[in-house]
Symmetry: C2
């Protein structure tokens, strides 16, 4: 198979002409053409290798042969819809159920995290009979109409907040309204949800769901204070609502210690609805909603069928099963714990050297490096973060930024990321920050 | 690869326990387990063969080797997201553009017809600055929140019509408010849209889009009166709205004479936004929105990025390209014309024999057989249609019903359906209708 059909300039010209420009390229000033990938490595049209630190979708590694094999074996046999009985969908649901608390036992398979989150909203609405949703500030839950409505990251830009949507402050221990020095962060941030619910009730409205990522990603790779979710769940359930955990970015062992990020919140916490997506099919469009029998029954009781044409087809489920197998066989959760831990430690060492590093945070292979202009006032070093990403690209390491000020460099690599990769990344960041400092000093001394 | 993991009873038990019951099975009284398929044939766990007359998704035939080959070759190479430049997405857009009028030239790739229709709504809204949508009665445009809002087939059951949604009568020449004897069906039905727009304006509201399938499917395999769409487009555009053609079920040559069903409406008609889905990836989750540069530019101008994680990835596009190749190489559009024409002719012959057949309609391999209790009053023979479908299943032919009264037997088989298949289907329907008549007479004479 030819790796390239058109020269890069032509690809770029066709892309500009034929593809909606709302779909943006990485490094849009000088985009990269990737023609081949394996594991955590990408290769451009000239055979140059890039280390991929951000493709969380290619969870078990780009082009893993076990996934390709499972897909093509099932494609040769059958890819009908789920109106016919088939073993893959039930086997896959059974395998996923084994990773979850018993309470989460009814599955709906769909094609994207967005489809999953939309269905989660419908399930919550149908079960509770309520309309209102509480979300965290800066959250992004997907590209669909209903999800833009509940994504402050999007609706703020469009300038339209729906009256049924209520935004709670992001429980960010570094930059939030309560910080790491607060004696009880979980309680303090949960109290705000409680008072927000009171305000909603005063308006004569009722809470359908609290909807949040188990680790806010676009929000800036945030680790929620432990205990926060169970307190919030208590308040939300008392108001007749449900707790929806969006694990589209965070599930499948990425956090290292657990299979799901919500489990970081403690043994006593379990969401009522959980959505999963990106890493689930290693790039194949596959996502899912799991909920309780009570909520599923309420959804069935309205008598309106839910049919998803491609969702849960035998090929998607074969791929999903193969992903679970590889995670286990290659101990990728263990690898995330070890390599992520090592990378975090290396980044912490850099923090001791470079004052621009305000915070190093994260779990497993879900890490954030927050750059600040000043450690006291924590003003975001947005431009510098952008420079680091661009300079890292020259070193052929692919990174990007997140957070409301785009000053958090995120690490969400394929789970096969190695110790050597971690060391290479830390070393290059060290050099680049050193260079930035030098340039900065030069500029300063010229003034 | 083992064809079965669990015995059928266990599959069924697990399905009931683990999968949301809102996702219904075909033949729920006695569901079929399918383990293998090829072309237009399905095989159950005992190796019994079924003729598939309804899987329009498996457009070029179940498990076509060219599609499997294209998918696995690309899966071995790369499956990154569209933030990196890649040739497949631009080549695929270019190939699709060649099937469309020049005006439709900017593509957005997504994972399902529902995602496509949701994006179409957003594009229309952003471009026009208006909110209101006119839809056809009994329409179904997808399972997402925003699409249930514009699908009378769904929102009627949930008992909630949004104030920005306006339902126009289905231009059904057999059962609609104007029928085949009307001198100008297109004008009569379009006039209703015109007056509906006036009503909307009187309320101080404005039209964003007229949103309709090019051939209403769930509505009962309806063929719109030729000329209808260009008149409607004229009125809708005069009101500042756009025309969205939902071709999720009808595109890719199914109608035989043309590649797109909207082209049946005449040379002078072109929608402003067109959505495609089901057959596009032959079962792989792949769908698309195409629109004009003006509408795409308005969407870009809001400054809010549209990113679809899996949409347009190299594997999806490789599969899409392979589907286009097979349609051409095997002349499947020509086959749809020939075999569909023959099947329609055979069904017309049955209509001459069986008074229960009220109408035979359709184009290419998109056909409907409408059963009525009485040819005069056209009362729907819902129960009899259900009996025919069940009896056909015993003959190992898979069919189902559509239409508001579920009395329209639909034919939307894989496009490799053969003359022999058509003859077998017509012969069996003939026998079953004969039997039904006999049973009916027996019951009658007993009374």
């Amino acid at each position: 198979m030819a790796l390239e059909t058109f020269p890069k300039e032509q690809t770029l010209e066709m892309r500009k002409r034929l593809i909606g420009q709302s779909c943006r390229l990485f490094f849009s000033h000088d985009p990269v053409k990737i023609v081949r990938a394996r594991g955590q490595y990408l290769y451009d049209e000239n055979g140059l290798q890039y280390l991929d630190c951000i493709s969380n979708v290619q969870h078990v590694g780009h082009c893993h042969p076990s996934i390709t094999q499972a897909a093509s074996a099932q494609m040769e046999l059958l890819n009908a819809n789920t109106r016919f009985l088939h073993d893959n969908i039930v086997q896959y649901a059974d395998r996923l159920a084994a990773t979850l608390p018993n309470k989460l036992s009814v599955f709906y398979f769909v094609n994207s995290g967005s489809e999953a989150n939309d269905l989660a909203l419908r399930l919550a609405h149908q079960y509770t009979g309520h309309d209102d949703v509480v979300v965290l500030d800066h959250a992004y839950h997907g590209h669909l109409t209903s999800l833009i409505d509940i994504s402050p990251y999007k609706f703020r830009k469009l300038g339209a907040q729906k009256d049924w949507v209520h935004v709670a402050p992001l429980p960010d221990p570094y930059r939030g309204m309560f910080r790491e020095d607060h004696p009880d962060l979980a309680q303090a941030y949960a109290d705000i949800i409680q008072s927000l619910i009171c305000d909603v009730h005063k308006k004569g409205r009722k809470i359908s769901a609290f909807f949040a990522e188990s680790l806010p990603s676009v929000g800036g790779q945030i680790i929620l204070p432990p205990g926060y979710s169970s307190k919030v769940a208590e308040y939300v359930r008392a108001a007749g609502g449900v707790f929806v955990a969006d694990e589209v970015q965070t599930g499948f062992g990425r956090v290292g210690t657990h299979f799901w990020a919500f489990q970081l919140q403690g043994e006593d916490f379990c969401p009522d609805i959980l959505t999963m997506g990106k890493p689930m099919g290693n790039g194949h469009p596959l996502a899912c909603v799991v909920t309780t029998t009570e909520i599923a029954n309420a959804f069935t009781a309205n008598g309106v069928e839910y049919f998803n044409t491609f969702g849960g087809n035998p090929v998607s489920c074969a791929i999903g099963l193969a992903v679970l197998d590889v995670i286990e066989r290659e101990d990728l959760r263990g690898n995330a714990l070890r390599v992520g831990g090592h990378l975090k430690e290396l980044l912490k060492q850099l923090q001791a050297k470079h004052t621009i590093i305000g915070d190093v945070r994260g779990v497993g292979l879900f890490l954030g490096l927050e750059l600040v202009k000043d450690r006291e006032d924590r003003s975001p070093a947005t431009e510098e973060a952008d420079q680091v990403v661009k300079r890292m690209k020259e070193e052929r390491i692919v990174l990007s930024t997140d957070g409301p000020w785009e000053n958090v460099i995120k690490f969400k690599p394929p789970m096969c990321f190695s110790m050597e990769d971690a060391e290479r990344v830390a070393e290059k960041i060290d050099q680049i920050l050193q260079d930035l400092k030098r340039t900065h000093h030069k500029v300063e001394s010229r003034h």
